[in-house]
Amino acid sequence: MEELILELKQQIIEALNLEEMTPDEIDTDAQLFGNDGLGLDSIDALELIVLMEKRYGIKLANPADGKAIFQSVRTIAEYVNENRKK
């Protein structure tokens, strides 16, 4: 799981072009969206959906489904762990 969490952080930094951030700077349990956390928005959510499909073969048909899954790096990791096709 820890390995997947690190991999996800690296993937997120690359997919969202979070210049100058390192995986250490992303708190595994911090909110990714909204003003309290990292401050990501709806376009970032779509980029994460693309990432899920490309990297892990997970198709999310409805962007609203992303809301629960993309809460934090940990919730993404848990979802990927259970649903990955590759």
């Binding site: 979070l18 210049e19 990292l38 928005d41 709806s42 376009i43 779509l46 980029e47 409805n62």
Partner: protein, 613 residues
């Protein structure tokens, strides 16, 4: 000056002229159907296609079938021709336009066209072969929005000037606004204004990457709405002063009595929760027309069918109209979302509804949405005198048009032909702009040698995450110029660009080429829209004022400066930020090199702050 509308032309999914569009509207017959002409793999997505092949359009326009012409241009030409015929400026019998003159001088007749997709249909057909073959390199010239307008203008040969507006889905509405402004400033005698947009694999997949395309027929303002259906088409109207129309004894169909252009300044693709941009645009239109909200008889909503737009627009409408909500409908259930052309297509729908006295239906609506307006499902025998037409674009470029029916004309009569224009004694351009002295407060230019990392002084790295080099350069030159001028927020942001963020456009074309029609990068699609440059600056400066983007090739900056002078001369703006921004990529430079165009910089951005003194 009263702005008269004396002719209209339209081609869209529900008809190839005014009569057939009217017939479909009255029969509540949608034009959205299974994809037939667009060569996309996404056959599961319903679209509002014009029911004609390119070859059929070419035949109507007298082109040889072997000649490659963009579908955007073909539809534009068909709709402009109808508008010119309808207004009497083109005689239907001989199909020719003789040079139009008044007693004093040739008529200043200007074509203003809104488009974003432009020649993309041709570019995507040839993109792969461009790297290796010179045969179709010409399409690089053909790609940009300004060239699309040039083709339409040159087809008719009667236009003294032409220009292009690209503010995504509000482009055509802004073309009408610009037309009215140019008439009022005495820069034109007659304006043909509207927009044209053909479906392309590029933007169908782009919208798909934003996950806002419904696989079912769209249901604007319905609780179960799940997105939009893309459509295509073109529509243009002929605008002239009432005085000019009367002098040539033309029939005035309606007046453009008010308009508003405001920026939501919230997000590149999402509308704000309080619908601020939309609210300001509608308010501005009402104020200009001198009307109260209760005077409005019908609103043709932007109403795309996405959860976000319809909620935000409902909030804006409730803020403007409160308890006195007039009948509202979105006609995108008929036409699909025709993006850059939607402003003029829906304007013509409003004019038809006003003239024939009926409320267009909001197709697909069944169930009220939380916080949403209840749209009309269509009604006959409904007198409409004042009508509002909303068009909102990416980047929060929100515009509203306000039309008034010409109550004097019980029936539209056939307009007289061009040759019957009466000579008159007074020059037509008797409305010069007031003499205003304009002062340049600051100017910042960014070239390939500039240090883009300076952007850090203004925005956090996280905020710059989606900005390519042109977005960074344009924002940096703008913010530096504003700082030099000592201004936090200008009254207006006027942008010129030939190709917009070409790096993102090319990245998407390459992704489609290499990976097929998969889930593309939503960031690249969003940034490929020309007006993201101007709206990005608006978001950073919290500027809700006038915001427009010109895409007239090398003349883009000149058009932007002309508009800035008009804004300052009108007294509406005290300070205007004008900019022109373009970039090239290694691939693009290598292609242009083969056309003999060399030494293009990788980036060039210029920002100027002007004020009236």
């Amino acid at each position: 000056m009263n702005i008269a509308i004396t002719g209209e032309g339209i081609i869209c999914a529900i008809g190839a002229d005014k009569a057939s569009v009217l017939d479909s509207l009255r029969r509540k017959q949608t034009g959205i159907d299974t994809m037939r002409y667009l060569p996309s793999e996404h056959k599961e997505l319903p679209v509002g296609e014009v029911k004609m092949s390119n070859d059929e359009m070419k035949s109507l326009l007298g082109f040889d079938a072997s000649q490659e012409v963009s579908r955007t241009s073909l539809m534009g030409m068909l709709a402009v021709r109808q508008a010119l015929e309808d207004s009497g400026y083109l005689s239907a019998e001989n199909g020719n336009l003789s040079p139009l003159t008044t007693h004093h001088s040739p008529l200043k007749i200007i074509l203003i066209s809104g488009t974003t997709v432009s020649g993309m249909d041709v570019t995507e057909r040839h993109f792969t072969e461009l790297r290796t073959s010179d045969v179709n390199l010409w399409c690089l010239d053909y790609h940009n929005c300004g060239d699309n307008t040039r083709q339409i203008a040159e087809y008719f040969g009667c236009f003294s000037e032409y220009t292009t507006v690209s503010t995504a889905c509000s482009s055509a509405a802004n073309a009408l606004i610009l037309g009215a402004e140019m008439l009022k400033a005495g820069e034109a005698d007659v304006v043909v204004a509207g927009g044209t947009e053909a479906l392309s694999v590029f933007h169908l997949n782009g919208f798909n990457s934003l996950m806002i395309l419904d696989k079912e027929h769209c249901r604007p303002f319905d609780e179960t709405r799940a997105g939009l259906n893309l459509g295509e088409g073109a529509a243009y109207v002929v605008l002239e002063s009432e005085e000019h129309a009367r002098q040539r004894q033309a029939s005035v169909h309606a007046y453009l009595t008010g308009y508003g252009n405001a920026c939501d300044a919230f997000h590149q693709t999402a509308s704000s929760e309080n619908g601020e941009g939309a609210f300001l645009a509608i308010q501005e239109a009402l104020t200009m027309a001198g009307l109260k909200p209760s005077d409005i008889d019908y609103v043709n909503a932007h109403g795309t069918g996405t959860p976000n737009n319809d909620l935000s627009e409902s909030v804006a409408l409730c803020r403007v109209f409160g308890e006195q909500m007039p009948p509202v409908s979105s006609t995108k259930g008929f036409t699909g979302h025709t993006t850059s052309a939607s402003g003029s297509i829906e304007a013509v729908i409003c004019l038809l509804a006003m003239h024939h006295g009926f409320l267009p239906a909001n197709l697909g609506w069944h169930q009220p949405m939380a916080g949403g307006i209840i749209p009309t499902l269509g009604e006959d025998n409904h007198v409409l005198r004042h009508v509002v037409c909303n068009s909102f674009g990416f980047g929060g470029n929100d515009s509203s048009l306000l039309f008034e029916r010409n109550v004097e004309s019980g029936k539209w009569k056939e307009n007289t032909s061009a040759t019957d224009i009466l000579p008159h004694d007074r020059p037509l351009t008797s409305h010069p702009s007031p003499l205003t002295s304009i002062c340049e407060l600051a100017r910042v230019e960014i070239t390939p040698e500039s240090d883009l990392s300076e952007i850090r002084d203004f925005v956090k790295p996280l905020e710059a995450r989606r900005m390519g080099k042109l977005m960074k350069a344009s924002l940096l030159s703008s913010l530096k110029a504003l700082r030099q001028a000592g201004i936090d927020c200008p009254d207006a942001i006027i942008t010129g660009t030939s190709l917009g963020c070409w790096e993102n456009t090319e990245a998407l074309l390459t992704q489609i080429e290499q990976e097929g029609e998969v889930m593309l990068s939503p960031t690249n699609f969003m940034q490929s829209t020309h007006n993201t440059i101007g709206s990005n600056i608006a978001i950073r400066t919290h500027c809700h004022g006038y915001n427009i983007t010109y895409t007239q090739g090398d003349d883009s900056l000149a058009w932007a400066l002309r508009d800035a002078r008009r804004q300052l001369a009108s007294g509406r703006c005290k300070t205007v930020l004008v900019g022109c921004h373009d970039e090239t990529t290694p691939l693009y430079r290598s292609l242009l090199d083969r056309l003999g165009i060399t030494n293009l910089p990788s980036i060039h951005s210029i920002s100027i702050v002007l004020t009236a003194v």
